[in-house]
């Protein structure tokens, strides 16, 4: 359960978030929609304490993220898998080591005791799941943007987190790969009960993976609800947002 209450944040006096309210229930996938530059990535980072809001509160499983001590915050972060918008792979490490690092951290603090062999096995498995078999020894600089994203995804899911934060998981991917990623996101929820927040521009993917949707507009949550609630909304701004997203996004046969 993640609860975000009245989050505000300005950068150099320029307000980016001006009152965001979001609830994510256990085992659901909440999709956050919003314009570019609207502060979606900033909001995701706040959930794991990478950025501090100017005011408001963030609560995960009943714990106030903003008042946590650093050791507690690290424990909390270990429950999260974070897919960064730009993948954020460590460019001095191979693909295999990038994915393994998430597991090694667990071993170092005895939260997750794994042998080297078990780590290698889980890394291989995670890379297979994202469709990148046998890429362990490749350096990230030799990967395409879409492949980096998928390595980032493998790295995020490999420690079996309870929560997943996806920042634009399908942007820049071809349709087939995007569909595979969407299937993966759904599998994590149905098979492992992972609670997720997905930030995306891609409204089609949003409808494939989302249980509920939150629309950020002008730094505020314009609306939260199911697909039907959003599509049937009478709110002028919501209607405008949905119709413009549908018309500008890719067209496809369903």
């Amino acid at each position: 359960m993640i609860t975000i209450r009245d989050i505000r944040k300005s950068f150099d006096e320029r307000p980016v978030l001006r009152g965001v309210n979001i609830d994510v229930r256990d085992r659901e996938t909440l999709v956050v929609l919003g314009r570019s530059g609207g502060g979606k990535s900033v909001m995701l980072k706040m959930i794991v304490g990478l950025l501090k809001p100017d005011s408001g509160s963030i609560n995960v499983d009943g714990n106030d993220v903003l008042s946590m001590t650093y050791p507690k915050l690290r424990e909390l972060r270990f429950k999260f898998g974070f897919l960064f918008q730009g993948a954020a792979l460590f460019d001095s490490l191979t693909v295999g080591d990038n994915v393994a690092l998430a597991l090694r951290r667990g071993r170092a603090t005895h939260e997750l005791e794994l042998t080297e062999g078990e780590i290698a096995e889980r890394v291989t498995f995670a890379l297979e799941v994202v469709g990148l078999k046998n890429t362990e020894a490749v350096m990230p600089s030799n990967l395409s943007g879409g492949m980096k994203k998928r390595v980032g995804l493998a790295r995020a899911i490999v420690p079996s987190p309870r929560y997943m934060l996806y920042d634009e998981p399908t942007t820049g991917l071809d349709m087939e790969t995007a569909d595979e990623i969407n299937v993966l996101i759904n599998d994590l929820r149905t098979k492992l009960g992972v609670t997720s927040i997905v930030v995306t521009h891609d409204i089609h993917s949003a409808f494939v993976v989302g249980d509920r949707f939150a629309i950020l507009n002008d730094g505020r949550t314009l609306m939260t609800g199911t697909r039907a609630e959003i599509e049937n909304s009478t709110d002028e701004d919501v209607r405008k947002y949905i119709s413009s997203s549908l018309s500008t996004s890719r067209t496809r046969l369903t």
Binding site: L50, Y70, R74, R77, G86, A88, L89, F90, R105, T109
Partner: protein
Amino acid sequence: MDLAAPAARAPRLHGPLFFEVIGRVTISFLEHLGMYFGLIWWMVGNIRNARESSKNFFSQMVQIGNDSIPIVIFVSTFVGMVTAVQSAYQLYSWIPRSVVGGLVIKSVLLELTPLLTALVLAGKVGATITAEIGSMRVTEQVDALEAMGFDSVSFLITPRILAGIVMFPVLVVFGDLLAVLGGLFGAVIVAHIPAGAFIAGMKSSFVTRDAVFGLTKATIFGYTITSIASYQGYYVVGGSAGVGKATMSTVVYTCLAVVILDFILASTLL
């Protein structure tokens, strides 16, 4: 009104401008100093987290060594030779030539190798650290480390500073040896001083205290360079252009810090 405002403000610029600039520079310097010590304070307070990155410590030591050894060999040898040749040239003809050996060992141990190694490595090691950590910052790799539950300071900065503290004295010992050999070479080949006289002069002037002082300086310079460079990289803003700028500032600030500290240490410890 808005349009009138610049004109109304203009006269104020003449008088207090100088003080305004001084004031702003001072405030920004103090801010940086505060953030720098905040970072170091955090590092010391969370030193136990660095156990998770002991591998990084060894790889950083290797990297500093690999990066520096060729240039240290080159610089030390030449510095030794030049010192010998110039000392010989400056001496009156009635002073025994063996004095050159004493001059070389004194200046090499006390000043030349520690200072020149530090200045050269400020560019090489310092710039590398800022560029590495800075580019990790702007590509969100630092955020990714934190999000995975690592303490990014203990993971990235502590190993680099510790490696600097260990490796700088090692490099200086190495540089001292080469500088002495270079001095011998310069004295014998260029200044035509008998090798025996040069060595005798060195032996009679050598005191352990000089070597210890030189190595203490090397340790302090090692800390200074790696910590300033790490700070610059860790707080980079403004994308890859920002990384470039921070790297340049690292070279400038570390060189300044090294020469200032060199003076302070000489005045207080000698």
